[in-house]
């Protein structure tokens, strides 16, 4: 798919220069001619890939029984009070930037209650939820930025379409950013930059993803024919174009689930990553079970306060996430590998599922927030983007970003009270934990003297994570930041660390500092 497109571009660039003579001297005289085995399996393979990604809910999610946590001892708060490396991360002559609050729609398995919506509908729900929660006067909002990954072509600037319908002023500009699974992280850090540079005081950042509906295109050949047809003037021209139609023109193009550069699906890469770090199927299932159990507990205890109810037109009001399904290790062990068959370790149960959802946070300059009478939840401090080999280190972003952002902020792992890492796959999280705990990896691949260390699990994603709460690609970043901020508020810590990996071999980390009470 990618090949033909690029070569078509080349053909445009150098139209007149093709067809240079080529002499083929093959002097080992018995090379039989190789028959091309190319068959157009594109459509079927893409379809299979898409369905591979869907969680097979019926197989394993039937058991909803709440199980006692096998790792409950890890939840005990550390007894000794640690002294922080730094009192605060405020820097002289740089504006302090705060998050007043943030909300999200309930995250739902795609194909459930949100399935008839469009992405901007979901985003609108998050934006109006934020308006409602913070009561921010709509005319003080300087700017709106949303992240998204799979773009609905009708609303390519989904931020603007959503803002218009969400009760914001039509005088507030809005743009959409995309950076795979860290799109809303990018939306937030763009907001931070706008405020820090004095361009804005009040910015709404968020993200949206609607995987229930994705743009499926006609094939390139079909599109070309349709475009040519629209330009054809005479009946003769039209007929001659139509006569070129072939049945295979009708095979559709699905949005790529595979990495464009390597043509490998993310699940496949995660499976190889888990193998490279020698992470067993059982460890992965255990971690997934932990995520689901902790999420269920947090949900039951009402800790997921960023969720705002959403009255879906024509349907009931959705009040909570529907992907949290603590199962049992026995049930999970029955699942077949989803990507590397038959011996892989990544399954539907230990991967994040396709999710619909939207999120939004209100970011202000501190002085503006105080002037408006807000009690902010947290400061947004240093952040860091990293990128590495998209083939073999696709999902190691957190490993690379964590030590860098800590160094930049002058903190150590011990200073962090709340870790919120994006869980794409159990195997990916566990690989990152192992990589951060490996001197060998730090020295040979990160150019560091020593490992940064693995985060203690009792501080790590203790209100659930993307595996259980869901992962709407464009909206997860804001959820991570709000989880960190809310946890610090609730548990009384000072610093939170947010980290995530993203397609393209990229990664992000940011320090969130609790706003003093």
């Amino acid at each position: 798919m990618g090949v033909s497109r690029t070569s078509a571009i080349w053909a445009v660039i150098w139209p007149s220069l093709r067809g240079d003579p080529e002499i083929i001297w093959s002097f080992i005289p018995f090379t039989l001619s190789v028959k091309p085995m190319d068959q157009d399996l594109r459509m079927t393979s893409l379809l299979t890939y898409t369905f591979k990604n869907l969680p097979s809910t019926s197989q394993w999610a039937l058991r909803f029984s709440m199980r006692p946590l096998s790792c409950s001892s890890q939840l005990r708060v550390a007894a000794a009070v640690q002294t922080k490396s730094k009192q605060t991360l405020a820097k002289p002559n740089i504006r302090n930037i705060v998050v007043v609050d943030g909300v999200r729609t309930p995250f739902l398995l795609s194909g459930t209650s949100y399935k008839d919506l469009m992405p901007h509908d979901l985003a609108r729900a998050a934006l109006s939820g934020l308006l409602h929660r913070t009561s921010v006067p709509k005319d003080v909002v300087d700017y709106i930025i949303l992240g998204t990954v799979i773009q609905e072509v009708k609303t390519s600037n989904v931020a603007r379409e959503a803002a218009l319908g969400a009760g914001f002023s039509d005088k507030t500009p809005a743009h959409t950013v995309t950076m795979a699974c860290i799109s809303s992280n990018q939306a937030m850090t763009t907001a931070v930059s706008l405020i820090a540079s004095g361009q804005c005081d009040v910015v709404v950042a968020g993200g949206v993803e609607l995987m229930s509906d994705v743009p499926i295109r006609h094939s390139r050949k079909m599109r070309k024919m349709m475009l040519d047809l629209s330009k054809a003037k005479t009946l003769g021209q039209r007929l001659s174009l139509i006569s070129k139609f072939r049945l295979n023109f009708l095979s559709p193009e699905l949005p790529a689930v595979a990495e464009f550069s390597t043509n490998e699906t993310m699940g496949h890469s995660a499976d190889r990553l888990a193998a490279a770090f020698a992470i067993s199927r059982l460890e992965q299932d255990e971690y997934a079970l932990r995520s689901h159990s902790l999420a269920r507990k947090a949900q039951d205890e009402g800790l997921l306060s960023d969720v705002v109810p959403f009255k879906v037109p024509g349907k009931d009001t959705v009040t909570q996430d529907n992907g949290i399904r603590p199962s049992s290790l026995e049930q999970m062990a029955k699942l077949k590998p989803a990507f590397i068959k038959p011996y892989g370790t990544v399954t539907a149960a230990n991967s994040s599922f396709l999710t619909d959802g939207a999120s939004a946070v209100l970011i202000l300059a501190e002085e503006k927030a105080l002037a408006m009478g807000y009690k902010p939840k947290a400061y947004l401090r240093d952040f860091m983007y990293v990128s590495q080999d998209p083939k073999d280190q696709l999902l190691l972003g957190p490993t690379y970003a964590t030590p860098k952002v800590l160094e930049k902020a002058g903190l150590t792992m011990n200073d962090i009270d709340a870790f919120e890492f994006h869980e794409a796959f159990s195997g990916q999280i566990l690989a990152n934990l192992k990589a951060m705990d490996s001197d060998w990896f730090a020295q040979n691949y990160m150019g560091r003297k020593a490992k940064v260390g693995s985060p203690p699990l009792e501080k790590f994603n203790i209100w659930g994570g993307s595996l259980s709460l869901g992962h709407p690609f464009g909206a997860t970043g804001c959820r991570l930041v709000m989880a960190a901020a809310n946890r610090l508020q609730k548990e009384g810590g000072q610093y939170g660390l947010v980290a995530a990996c993203a397609a393209g071999g990229q990664g992000h980390a940011m320090i969130v500092e609790a706003y003093p009470k």
Partner: protein, 728 residues
Amino acid sequence: MVASRAVGSLSRFTRSRMLRCPGYICRNFTKSSALLTRTHINYGVKGDVAVIRINSPNSKVNTLGQELHSEFIEVMNEVWSSNQIRSAVLISSKPGCFIAGADLNMLTACTTPQEVTQISQEAQKMFEKVEKSTKPIVAAINGSCLGGGLEVGVPAAFDMMLTGRGIRADRAKKMGLVDQLVEPLGPGIKPPEERTIEYLEEVAITFAKGLADKKISPKRDKGLVETFYLTELTSYAMSIPFVRQQIYKKVEEKVRKQTKGLYPAPLKIIDVVKTGIEQGSDAGYLSESQKFGELAMTKESKALMGLYRGQTLCKKNKFGAPQKEVKQLAILGAGLMGAGIAQVSVDKGLQTVLKDATLAALGRGQQQVFKGLNDKVKKKALTSFERDAFFSNLTGQLDYQGFEKADMVIEAVFEDLSLKHKVLKEVEAVIPDHCVFASNTSALPINEIAAISKRPEKVIGMHYFSPVDKMQLLEIITTPKTSKDTTASAVEVGLKQGKVIIVVKDGPGFYTTRCLAPMMSEVIRILQEGVGPKKLDSLTTSFGFPVGAATLVDEVGVDVANHVAENLGKAFGERFAGGSLEVLKQMISKGFLGRKSGKGFYIYQEGVKNKNLNSDIHSILAGLKMPSQPDVSSDEDIQYRLVTRFVNEAVLCLQEGVLATPTEGDIGAVFGLGFPPCLGGPFRFVDLYGAQKTVDRLRKYEAAYGRQFTPCQLLMDHASSPNKKFYQ
């Protein structure tokens, strides 16, 4: 068979693969206690799975030699006799190599076909036992698995046996040669290669257990022929003797056409397969081992094994590591050669600047590089991402910007001394002190190019062959002033570009062009004597040349051939006599420059496969007709007139010290000029054909034509003392 595999073994499997063999037999053997004495095989038991790790000491690859063979049998016997073991995994501890095939030294050591037959039979017995083992054996293959190495795991498929062609892992899976693929891992808790092997072993063990517990059923149960002819329909057709006969005939025809009967192995393979199918596998195995024994003793086998060794030698840098690694390369001239050199550089990660004088010429060159890379994407040897990444290593430009950072400049401008002088001056004004200036020329002496250089110790010749991405040879030419470090640098770059390298001394025509020129002179002469281009082509190809002599002139370019002939004619005088240069001159004046102008001896048209003779050539040749001498004009004489002139000049090059070793001479002739591979190169030819017989032929032609056929001193020395050989 061995020979063809030896040459084919350059290609490698790129992905790790797993395969499985069905099996039987459980005998009781006394247990070996000599665990510690094993050097090639390390064997351990994990649960009820025996893990057999092959690791030949002091070698990058594992080869099937006598020691490995006997240790393997010993270990397998233990596996079969142990009650505790239910299945086995066979794996190599070497990253990128399972078993590279039979040990050539073992075969060379044999003096009679019987010895080879015996080795082959022993190996067959082992393979058969593995194949029939009741305990499942999983072969976990990471990297090259060739020849006998493949047979350890799988019955090889038909077309692979014939051509010795490398099969990529995913195709091997499709063909049913292997059952499972394991993708290589990236970095994790250990270096990727190490962890990948470990992982492969882990996965293989789960498969071995699964097979032993009958949880996994071996899907692949089709035999040799069924694997090849996949569908049921064809397997039905194969059960009809008449159809089978037709297929044998067809395959044989095809092989005969391709090998011109010069390579005995493919035909014998067909024989063996035929015997196996018609008379049962025992007869097939027997026939295989006998034929293998016979083949190992043939001249062709010796020639090809020699080439394989020579090629390995010419893939090493005798001059050591250069002081400064070349990272920035600049190429002047984006023509066929310049762009070709750029292509083989960028895909090895060299930052390459391609410079030409006009945007159109540069664009053509850039497109050539792109097309070369894109063709690999079409063949799935590269991903489009890798292509883009490689192509980004290329910078096209019209000026000398950035040359101050270049570590090496290779000029590939038109073959004209004053032009080469001009660019040398321009380049030396901008390049740093350490930068090497290499000239890609086929005939201009390097010392003449270096004459105007400020730093002749940094000037060297790098003679590439067209098309650069397909021709493996690189001829490096040193002048007396060229420094050793400059040579080391040039060899290093050439090796990085994947070339087989010969290093020769400077002189008119160096080595390769100098050998080709007298042969070309004879080609013209023969044409003038009235032999048609088509007839001449068929005579040369049936002797083993990959390209016919007349076609070769068209491919090289008539103007280039004329240019070279004139230059070398001046330098060497009557020894390069023969045909009249007037033939070429008249062709040039009529615009018949060969393939590039659309007309030469043949007419070249886009999309037309069968080239037709250019009828205008008749009048030129008729006008310059020379009398033919019947006693030296038989088909065989014509072939030997060409070959002996080539060989004589090659030996003279060694005599004069242009060549350092006969090996380099053979490699240069075969890989650069298409000297028949089945003859192994000019020096191997003299050894195998006989120096005396060569001299006799030369004398006979000398009597008819004159001094261009006078055998050189070194050749006569070899003729007079039969013990003297170029290869001892």
